[in-house]
Subunit: 355 residues, 2 copies
């Protein structure tokens, strides 16, 4: 973390070299349209543009704000809101963005109300969101056909189905293919149940994430039918995904500055200006190399070095977030370095924040 | 949560009535300068102005941004950065804000470096930050005197001492006075150790928070010497402090909208558009009245009602955050209603966000 003399902290710092390596690695396994990168992980059109450069044109979004922001920035050709919205204003804003930019907008629907609201707002394309085991959104697989019929009757194009097996992202690797296949069976069956009514434009079976992107064996009669994967975290990574055997490296750290140190009879510790307001904490404490994190407070993390050494006040410390998505949501900007150890050359706004 | 027809969600919604009741309750116990409200909890000058209206003029801040934002907005007369900064630009920005607005700025110092940087930046007032048991910032009590001497030699005014007994905020009530007193003994001793060198302007012994504000018995020879309390969460509350026997009510909720429901053989649940990106999660899951929260994802919370009923898609749901401070840090605005059940009348920006 040398050469960051003027960086105000806490700050997100991204290695462009590592980002590009992660993007290239993923694009080798899932090139072009076989990956629909999820922008919710980074909320940053600067990063999405790099994903376009390696060949992806279709993107996944979690909020209307992400869809509208991507469209207005002219990034991608095919944007999916992989989430339900029942906000007429935001649905209309996405429809307007599609009309005015020519970038295709598709929204997930899982109920008659979400179908009707999408049609009323002037949206044109939907995916039927099918529940594949995670108790969250998605219709029951047996309801997919009737929802598709309702969408078609309302003048919407049904582009296919999606399902998110979020409950399987961190299952042990030896169990993962079997469990993902069982989950995807219901998604593929739902697709097959509606294809006769939805017609030629119905082609998408969309699922997956960073924890399962490699589970979609193209030769498997079920898994091979999933034709796009919605991974997002792979671009930046975090300590949770980093604990899995994945070929991606940490590309982004929250960099802090040591503001206080203590050497007492009761122990030695250092304090940095990175805390609960700069770190997503739902996956637990962040990680610092060669150190033990004691605890995080609003604006502080207390830690000690494994070798008993004490950092100096003013030292920079790189903190690996436990969960990248909510970490980025706390920051306004990403500071870009060409390589670790080099100076910041660009600042990319986290321009897709909020809703 | 009626009468919120046009509220885009997730959204922070504040009851002005409850806020004012909380502020009045606290001002009865700790009026005027005996409370130094902590703005880190709300990061909102709109709320700080209400704290001025009930008689407080001195405020506690956790970041330079909060200090500068309060000064530039003309809120308060006496702002304390109860935290260490080693950023010369931000220290200078606080000094400039003091010069240009006439609002007094004091910063905490706990090392020779923080003393020297404060003086070099043109700051004029410091508190000696003393460690009182929480392994975070603060000098050893026995070092307070020498730090004060260094500050005085650098031309700084030493206004007193502060110490934060954050490790005692949630100890059982019957044990709290004894433990707070033991912690404050070292702070009072540190004060007494430097008073002969620091002179007449050295008068402040600052400590405490929402969990201990009532522990400072004015008749106790130690606790009674703490002359200002740095409580912040009391204004808004959260489920963590709500579990303690405190006389404050929840004044702010994250309001969500039901976007999906499911009634299956495996169970029934509803999903709202409130998740990890709108909730501070370090204290665990949020609370929903009469419901069980199953889990939170980036943009969702899945829950079920205790009585087995299922909300309707489009229903509003009030979510009580487990930790108010990092929750607010995720939002741009606070929507104000005069009373629960009434329409939004004002939007107050969270204008002290970031650093």
């Amino acid at each position: 973390m040398a050469r960051l003399p003027d960086l105000p902290t806490p700050a997100l710092v991204l290695s462009l070299e590592v980002l590009e390596r992660n993007l290239a690695t993923m694009a080798t396994t899932r090139p072009g349209a076989t990956l629909r990168p999820h922008v919710k992980a980074h909320k940053c059109t600067g990063i999405a543009r790099r994903q376009v450069e390696v060949g992806h044109r279709s993107f996944t979004c979690a909020t209307p704000r992400e869809v509208v922001g991507m469209a207005r920035a002219g990034v991608g050709k095919d944007l999916l809101l992989a989430n339900e919205s029942v906000d007429p204003h935001r649905l209309a804003a996405m429809a307007a963005a599609e009309r005015e930019t020519g970038i295709m907008v598709t929204v997930a629907v899982d109920s008659t109300m979400t179908v009707d609201l999408a049609a009323a707002a002037g949206l044109r394309h939907v995916l039927i969101d099918v529940n594949v085991g995670l108790p969250r959104c998605g219709c029951a697989p047996e309801d997919a056909r009737s929802l598709a019929q309702r969408a078609l009757a309302a003048g919407l194009t049904v582009r296919g189905v999606m399902g998110y097996e979020g409950h399987l992202m961190t299952v042990p690797e030896d169990d993962k293919p079997r469990k993902v296949k069982a989950s995807m069976s219901s998604l593929v069956e739902a697709f097959d149940s509606l294809i006769d009514v939805a017609g030629e434009e119905c082609r998408i079976i969309s699922a997956g994430g960073t924890g399962t992107y490699h589970a979609f064996d193209p030769d498997d009669p079920v898994l091979g039918r999933v034709n796009e994967v919605q991974a997002g975290s792979y671009a930046l990574m975090d300590s949770s995904y980093g604990a899995q055997p994945l070929p991606f490296e940490q590309a982004l750290y929250v960099v802090g500055t040591v503001i206080s140190t203590a050497s007492r009879d009761s122990g030695s510790w250092a304090v940095i200006d990175v805390g609960l307001k700069s770190l997503g904490m739902d996956h637990g404490n962040p990680h610092i190399d060669d150190a033990v994190v004691w605890f995080c407070s609003d604006e502080h993390t207390t830690f000690s070095m494994n070798d008993g050494s004490l950092p100096s006040i003013g030292d920079r410390v790189a903190v690996q977030p436990a969960h990248i998505d909510p970490t980025i949501a706390l920051h306004a900007d990403i500071h870009v370095v060409p390589r670790w150890g080099e100076a910041v050359t660009e600042v990319w706004p986290v321009d897709l924040r909020h809703w």
